[in-house]
Subunit: 250 residues, 2 copies
C-alpha cells in the first residue's frame, strides 16, 4: 500500500510520500516513492507514485532516459519538457509506453496495470502545477478550491485535509497538516509506514526549499503524533455528551 499527498497553496507546493511497499503482509520493504527532478532556478519537479512498483520504477527510468514524442519523433526527457503541461503529457506517454511493453506479460499473469502519480512543480516562469496522472496516462490539475491531491490509501487522511487546508494556508502549515494526514493513515493501515519522504518547493523559486526523510524515532514527527492524539482526545472530551439519554448533558 501507499499514501502520498500533494498540497498546492499560494506559497508553493508540498509533496509527502511514505516508503512502504508490500507484496503480501509477509513481504514488506522500503522504496522511495517521491522522486525529484531539479535544475535549480530553471525547473523543479516532484513525482510521487502509487501502484505496481515495477511499473512506477520503469516510468521514472523512462522519464530520465527519454520517451519518443509521436508527433516529432524526438526522444524527450523530463528535464527537456518546456512546460508543466507538456511534462505531464510526457509522463502519460511513459505510462502508456510501459503498458505497451508489459501488457502481454501482465495479462498472462493476470496482473492489473494500476498506477497513479502525483506530479507537481514549476518550470521557469510558467505556472506552478500539481497534477494527478492516471493509469491511462490522462491527468487532471488541482484547483484553488481543492488545493490538494492524494493517491493510494487516501481516505483515512482526507478528513483533516478537508477541514484544515485552503489555498491561503501557510506552506509549512500545509506541510504540518499533510504530516497529520499521513499519521492518521499510518495509524489505520499498516501498509503505509515510515520513513516518510517530503519536499517543500516555494512558488517562483524553481528549487527545492526542503528535501527531508523522516525516519522512525525522529523527535518532531514523534511529538506531532503525540500532540495530535492528545489534542483529539481533548477535543472530543470537550464536546458535551448527547442529550438523548438519562445522563443527558453530564
Amino acid at each position: 500500500m501507499t499514501y502520498c499527498v500533494g498540497i498546492l497553496v499560494e506559497d508553493g507546493l508540498v509533496m509527502i510520500a511514505d516508503t512502504r511497499t508490500n507484496a503480501g503482509l509477509d513481504d514488506i520493504s522500503t522504496f522511495r516513492k517521491l522522486h525529484l527532478f531539479e535544475v535549480p532556478g530553471e525547473r523543479v519537479l516532484a513525482l510521487a507514485s502509487a501502484g505496481n512498483l515495477s511499473v512506477t520504477q520503469s516510468v521514472v527510468a523512462l522519464l530520465n532516459e527519454g520517451v519518443a514524442n509521436p508527433e516529432t519523433g524526438a526522444v524527450e526527457t523530463i528535464l527537456e519538457a518546456p512546460t508543466m503541461f507538456q511534462a505531464a503529457q510526457l509522463i502519460g506517454r511513459a505510462i502508456r509506453r510501459v503498458r505497451a511493453i508489459e501488457r502481454e506479460g501482465f495479462e498472462a499473469a493476470q496482473l492489473r496495470f494500476e498506477v497513479t502519480f502525483l506530479f507537481g512543480g514549476q518550470i521557469a516562469d510558467g505556472p506552478m502545477r500539481l497534477y494527478m496522472i492516471y493509469s491511462a496516462g490522462n491527468f487532471m490539475a488541482c484547483s484553488q478550491d481543492a488545493p490538494f491531491l492524494q493517491i493510494g490509501e487516501h481516505k483515512y487522511g482526507k478528513p483533516i485535509l478537508d477541514r484544515a487546508v485552503t489555498f491561503k494556508t501557510d506552506i509549512y502549515d500545509a506541510l504540518k497538516v499533510g504530516l497529520i494526514s499521513m499519521d492518521s493513515t499510518m495509524r489505520s493501515n499498516l501498509g503505509v509506514g515510515l520513513p516518510i519522504d517530503l519536499a517543500v518547493i516555494r512558488r517562483n523559486s524553481c528549487r527545492t526549499e526542503v528535501v527531508h526523510r523522516i525516519e522512525a524515532g525522529e523527535p518532531y514527527f514523534h511529538d506531532l503524533r503525540e500532540r495530535w492524539s492528545a489534542a483529539l482526545r481533548a477535543a472530543h472530551r470537550a464536546i458535551p455528551r448527547p442529550p438523548y439519554g438519562p445522563s443527558a448533558g453530564v
Copy 2:
C-alpha cells in the same frame, strides 16, 4: 452509500446508521437502515445494514416472517432465537435464502450480491454481543480489544474511533465519538447523509434506553459538528510547524 457503526463498551451497545441510499448520484433517497427488534426485558436486538437495499429489506422481512431451520425444519423468527449466536446464525440463513431466490436474476442483470450487517444486542441473561455478518452469511464478533465494528463507507470515520474508543469508554461518550465518526464520513462522502438513526442499549437491561433520529438542523448535532471542526483547527494550529525549513519553529 452507507455508513453504520456499532460500539460495544462495558456499559452496553451503541448503534448508529445513516439513512441515505442512492442508485446513482441522481437518485438519492432516505431509507431506515437501523432496525430494532425488542421485547422489553426479554431481548433487544439492533440490526444495521449496508449494501443492496432490495436484499437487506428482504432479509429483514424474512427475520420477521421466519426462516426454516434446515436441521429441525421449524420456521424460526428472530424473536424466537434463544441466543445471540443463534440469532446471528438465523440472519446468515436469511441472507443465504435471499441469495438463493435472487441468484438467477442477479446474474442475468450482472448485479453483485453484496450486503453486510452489524447485529448487536442481548437476549435474556445471555451475553451482549456485536457481530459483523457478511454476504456469505458468516459472521464474526467484536472483542474488548477492538470494541467497534463498521460497515459501508468506513475509512473516513475510523481514525477517531481508533483513538477515542476503548471497552471502558462511557456509553454516551461512545455515542458522541460515533457521531463524530459519522460527521467525518458525511463530510467526505456525499453518499452518507442525514437523518441519522441511533440506539443506545445498556448492558443487562434487555431494552432500548434511547432510540432517536437526528434530523437536519438538530441543534446538538449541529453544535457537535461546529465544535469538532473548531477543535480540529485549534488542535493542528497548536502543533509547532515542522523544523525542516527556513521558517522552522515559527
